[in-house]
């Protein structure tokens, strides 16, 4: 019975677009209020953000952000708020980097091992929150936040000289042992800088996400639990098992977040490994509405904003404006989606109502005829 509903699709696209437009308006106001000329700022952002080296930057950043968005979205689809993606990916990347640095196997063997380690560590860390939720009733929102901080402490403890840390020759930076060159991930030889090969893995992960959630029994169960736990329970889904499983999957996906950076860029985990991407992932999942394509667009938008505003710093603006733009986009987008959702619901109700009324009228007509 599912028909392609053009108006609905239009509404779905209109909401984020509206939010982005509002965000740019608010940003313009903020810039103007602080005595800066807004429109040339946007001009600079777009000019610079669309240059070819910027495109490479955006794709590479987007790869990381896309994986983060997916990891968060898996939880969201099930109504689980995995705020802990942040701790999961850092811990996963750290252990994966430590393992990768310790071994010197052929790349074909070692790269999958590094990735697998990251996924397992991420899954385990998220699994703690899942198990606590189903066995002890601890809200995953609070437990994952605590686990983030504990992950920070664990990394801080282990990333020291004599443990898993390794002081560089200048004696200024502590990192894990660099991963041997044979285990670096491949790159696309684009100019001026290469596009990270991990983007392929991100695309595969996005496809797997779409297929699992939309085309399998498991995905159906997962979405059912997300929409109504009691209904799922009644139809024979083991909700507790689903909670733990989806936390594990979300954590495994989170484990991938650090991999593009680790295997394509830094090749080691150190103090300047990117942090806070778990929270970026939340924003992107919200923006992309948990849809694999939407998340991809959101990830690219985030990369673009960061690249574009970075240039502003050299033109007399402050690059920190990116936080304002992103914050306003997120807040506007969640409000816009809610408004659109409610409008869609109302439209559906009135249409169903009209159909029922028409049917009732037809029935009574027939009765009059037969009478």
């Amino acid at each position: 019975m599912k028909k392609f509903d053009k108006e609905r699709l239009l509404l779905g696209i209109a909401a984020p677009l509206l939010a982005i437009v509002v965000a740019f308006l608010v940003t313009a106001l903020v810039l103007a209020a602080t005595g800066k000329e807004p429109f040339s700022a946007f001009g600079i952002m777009f000019d610079y953000g669309l240059k070819s080296d910027s495109q490479v930057y955006i794709l590479n950043k987007g790869t990381t952000y896309y994986l983060a968005g997916l990891a968060v979205a898996i939880g969201f689809r099930m109504n689980l708020f995995n705020i802990g993606v942040d701790g999961q990916y850092r811990l996963a990347a750290f252990f994966a980097a430590a393992l990768g640095g310790a071994l010197t196997l052929p790349g074909a063997l070692q790269i999958p091992m590094i990735i697998l380690t990251a996924m397992i560590v991420g899954a385990m860390w998220a699994g703690i929150a899942g198990v606590l939720k189903v066995t002890r009733g601890v809200s995953e929102v609070v437990s994952t936040i605590m686990l983030n901080s504990i992950a920070t402490a664990i990394i801080g403890y282990l990333l020291q000289q004599g443990r898993l840390g390794h002081l560089d020759e200048a004696g200024t930076k502590i990192s894990t042992t660099p991963i041997p060159e044979s285990s670096h991930f491949f790159e696309f030889p684009t100019t001026p800088t290469p596009v990270w090969g991990f983007i392929v893995v991100a695309v595969v992960a996005g496809f797997a996400y779409w297929f699992t959630l939309g085309r399998t029994r498991f995905g159906f169960d997962l979405r059912t639990v997300g929409q109504s736990g009691s209904a799922a329970e009644a139809s024979g889904v083991d909700v507790k098992k689903m909670v733990v499983t989806s936390m594990l999957i979300s954590g495994a996906m989170a484990g991938l977040i650090g991999m593009p950076t680790l295997l394509n860029d830094s090749y080691e985990y150190s103090g300047d490994f990117p942090v806070g991407i778990g929270f970026t992932g939340i924003a992107i999942a919200l923006l992309g509405r948990n849809h694999p394509v939407g998340i991809a667009l959101g990830a690219l938008l985030w990369g673009f904003l960061e690249r574009g505003t970075g240039k502003l710093e050299f033109e007399g603006y402050d690059k920190e404006i990116v936080g304002v733009i992103q914050g306003v986009i997120v807040l506007c987008v969640v409000i816009a989606y809610e408004v659109v959702r409610r409008y869609g619901l109302k439209r559906q109700q009135s249409r169903v109502g009209a159909e029922l009324a028409a049917k009732a009228a037809r029935n009574s007509d027939q009765q009059e005829v037969s009478a």
């Binding site: 601890v138 605590m146 686990l147 403890y157 929409q227 929270f279 920190e320 304002v324 997120v330």
Partner: protein
């Protein structure tokens, strides 16, 4: 066909209050007994291990100072959640509080800074109420959005306002405000010195008691007293006035409240704005009392910890105060010679786990009993094999404690019935 998080009923901690009914209310003497027991245990730990700092006035004083911002954030959470709105945006509102508090504080008087911090937090609360009450956005999503937004705004304006002109000359930088004057602290004359001298004798129990009391009467910021008054005031307003009853009815059963003529939207707005103000006050405390300056990332997740303290306190001010005290204590440990103190407290953990194991075995619950016993043994080995706990683990103590406490107590908690649920005017008709 796209089910998003916003299109489903909002999440909540699983409702586990269940058939056994809520937690029995603790009567006042029982609370005193528990406190006395805890004090006795702490004294014993101090006496056995010789870690004198566990109950020293300095430790308690630091714990109090760390507990206040957490407690205020938790109190903010309490107001919002009692009216049925989950407020995970406390962290962002706190950030606004630190920023505006320091911004007004360094230019004028710290008390004006406090006011500015409260107003900043209230603006955050207003935004949260706007999204969740008027538009019905999922509470957690809106809260996260506010956290992101608050961070973005303060980062941008800090660079603009603290790194230029007069502010830069006074010591500001893109991530730091110039210092503000301090808020007066009070010490009870005579009593403080006397308690200090008693504490120095290291008598069992007596000195511990003196140390704790001494910490509570020495160099207490006036703002701490304000915070204490707010706790009492919150209890009074929410549980002893008709306004409070109406507000809480919005969190328990908004449809019923509406049918009795309560303007649910208005109460939710008021509650969430007050919630933001309290979180903002917590933030202002951080920037004006704890450190005198705004510092990027200063809140360090205290908004979330406050939320955890509130859950730990079973959505009641008294319990929240205890939770905040616990977190403050753990936080303060890392400031002062924490390794040794945490190491000493490991012994307490061993004893508690051992008692738990014996109890579970006595009740013939063999699996949890054996698990507790094994963990107790492991911690005991850790205790005996080391002299101190690494600083990184000390800093993780509050979080581990939160997880442990919540996993032990979450099933006995009862949140407001309609907490976190989307409510639309007239939905009950």
């Amino acid at each position: 066909m796209s089910a998003t998080a916003t299109s489903t009923p909002p999440p909540a901690a699983p409702k586990v209050s269940g058939g056994k009914g809520g937690r029995t209310r603790l009567s006042f003497p029982v609370v005193l007994l528990i406190i006395a027991g805890a004090l006795l245990a702490l004294s014993a730990v101090r006496a056995v291990t010789g870690a004198q700092d566990v109950t020293s006035a300095g430790q308690i004083s630091a714990a109090l100072a760390m507990a206040v911002p957490i407690g205020l954030a938790g109190l903010g959470g309490l107001w919002a959640e009692r009216a049925g709105v989950v407020n995970i945006g406390l962290e962002g509102m706190m950030i606004l509080g630190t920023f505006f508090g320091a911004w007004a504080g360094w230019q004028t008087d710290p008390w004006i800074g406090v006011l500015a911090g409260v107003v900043g937090g209230m603006l955050g609360g207003l935004l949260h109420a706007f999204a969740t009450v008027t538009f019905g956005v999922d509470h957690i999503i809106s809260g996260i959005a506010i956290n992101i937004l608050a961070l973005g705004f303060t980062t941008y304006f800090a660079k603009l306002w603290f790194n230029t002109g007069e502010a830069a000359e006074a010591g500001g930088s893109p991530k730091q405000s110039p210092p503000a004057d301090s808020i007066t602290t009070v010490t009870v004359p005579g009593l403080s010195d006397w308690l200090h001298s008693v504490e120095k004798h290291h008598w069992f129990f007596v000195s511990d008691f003196a140390g704790i009391l001494g910490g509570l009467v020495t160099h207490v910021s006036l703002l701490t007293l304000v915070a204490a008054a707010l706790f009492v005031g919150t209890f009074f307003v929410l549980w002893k006035t008709s306004f409070g009853l109406r507000l809480r009815s919005c969190g328990e059963n908004p449809v019923a409240a509406e049918s009795l003529g309560v303007n649910v939207y208005r109460y939710k707005y008021i509650a969430v704005i007050i919630s933001g103000g309290l979180a903002g006050l917590g933030g202002a405390f951080l920037s004006l009392v704890t450190s005198h300056i705004y510092n990027e990332g200063q809140t360090g997740g205290r908004g979330y910890i406050g939320l955890a303290a509130m859950i730990f306190g079973n959505w009641r001010p008294g319990g929240l105060a205890m939770g905040a005290g616990l977190f403050g204590f753990a936080d303060a440990l890392q400031l002062r010679n924490g390794g040794e103190s945490v190491h000493a407290l490991l012994l307490l953990l061993v004893v508690m786990l051992a008692v738990l194991a014996v109890w579970k075995l006595y009740r013939k619950r063999f699996v949890p009993g054996v698990v507790s016993a094994v963990i107790a043994a492991a911690v005991l080995v850790w205790y005996l094999a080391t002299d101190t706990v690494p600083t990184e683990f000390v800093s993780a103590t509050p979080y581990v404690v939160t997880l442990l406490v919540l996993s032990l107590s979450a099933q006995r908690l009862r949140m407001p019935k309609a907490d976190g649920m989307r409510y639309r005017k007239g939905q009950g008709k």
